[in-house]
């Protein structure tokens, strides 16, 4: 990806206009709508090309993509809480106790 000046929304937004029946450009709104599918690699080839073309020209969307993906990772890193050992022991004792008391 080339280093370009940040593309901030201009008053006309002409860069992102759609042309004809097919879509030749994505808007920032379109791109953000496709973000999850892009990250999961479930977009078709044409959509990926449109997505990446927009991304190459749009610094705000590049920042959005990167921070969205980092936010996703943070959830896993922050929310993972280990089960306390004593809690695990209590569970084991409870279940094995029930097992022992089952009629054979």
């Amino acid at each position: 990806m080339s280093h370009t000046e940040p593309h901030l929304p201009g008053p006309e937004g002409t860069r992102h206009e759609r042309h004809g029946a097919g879509v030749s450009h994505l808007t920032c709104r379109d791109l953000i709508g496709l973000l999850l599918d892009y990250l999961e690699a479930t977009l078709d080839e044409d959509s990926v090309a449109l997505f990446e073309r927009h991304l190459a020209d749009c610094a705000p969307c590049r920042a959005y993509l990167r921070t969205y993906d980092r936010s996703r990772q943070l959830i896993g890193q922050v929310e993972r809480v280990d089960m306390p050992v004593e809690m695990r022991d209590r569970l084991r004792d409870l279940l094995l106790g029930r097992l022992d008391s089952r009629p054979s």
Partner: protein, 225 residues
């Protein structure tokens, strides 16, 4: 370029292999070793998920115990129509949500208040610093500061239940969209929609925090690469 973050899950693999008839049969036969195997495999996950939903260790412990006692009681009726892991997660979600109801201390956030907004021409609205803020390269020890952790936890805790559960199953448990949909008895499209909105809301709050200088790094507003 970021791509390919989608996954068929490592956890997913175990969720499907653990339906093996032998493990179920051994559980039905009261095999203590089989019970320990299932506990080792699933108790930490059930606890993590239950804690994520209830935000309370005592409630999480009750959920874990209830899930395994139910498994213990109902194993004879388990027909294997879904994987054992899916079945366990589904019970855990339902029990944890029941625990949470009536105990909500956190005001739920209005998700719409934290989603990106757009102008008529499709450009995102917002000031320059927010639009260009890219804190994704912030060093790990800084981005995982207590303050950021607290922001993430507060945000997740304040999500409406049906968003939080999806976020936890997908981004914490790393299950697939399909597995999550099966656990929640919902459609994949609905799971993806809720996941995307929840992630966007979290991203927005984290970015605000960084841009306003309360996070580990004032946002880097340099042009992205």
């Amino acid at each position: 370029m970021l791509a390919g973050s989608g996954h068929s899950t490592a956890l997913g693999a175990t969720m499907h292999t653990d339906t093996t008839a032998s493990l179920i049969d051994r559980l039905r036969g009261g095999d203590a070793v089989a019970l320990e195997e299932v506990m080792e495999q699933f108790a930490p996950r059930v606890h993590r998920l239950a804690y994520g939903i209830t935000r309370n260790q005592a409630d999480a412990e009750e959920v874990v115990q209830d899930v395994f006692l139910r498994l213990f009681r109902k194993i004879d009726a388990f027909e294997g129509r879904s994987a054992l892991g899916t079945w366990i997660y589904r019970i855990a979600v339902n029990m944890a949500l029941i625990k949470r109801r009536g105990k909500r201390a956190t005001l739920e956030v209005l998700l719409e208040d934290h989603l990106p907004t757009f102008r008529d021409d499709g450009h995102r609205e917002g000031d320059r610093a927010m639009l260009l803020a890219d804190w994704s390269d912030t060093p790990e020890d800084q981005v995982l500061s207590n303050e950021t952790r607290e922001t993430v936890r507060r945000m997740i805790a304040s999500l409406p239940d049906h968003y939080r559960v999806v976020l936890l199953l997908r981004d914490m448990e790393e299950l697939s969209n399909e597995e999550t949909a099966e656990i929640l008895d919902d459609t994949v499209a609905s799971v993806k929609s809720r996941l995307h909105r929840a992630r966007m809301a979290l991203r927005e709050q984290l970015t605000s925090s960084f841009v306003l200088g309360r996070g580990p790094a004032t946002a880097n507003a340099a042009p992205a690469h």
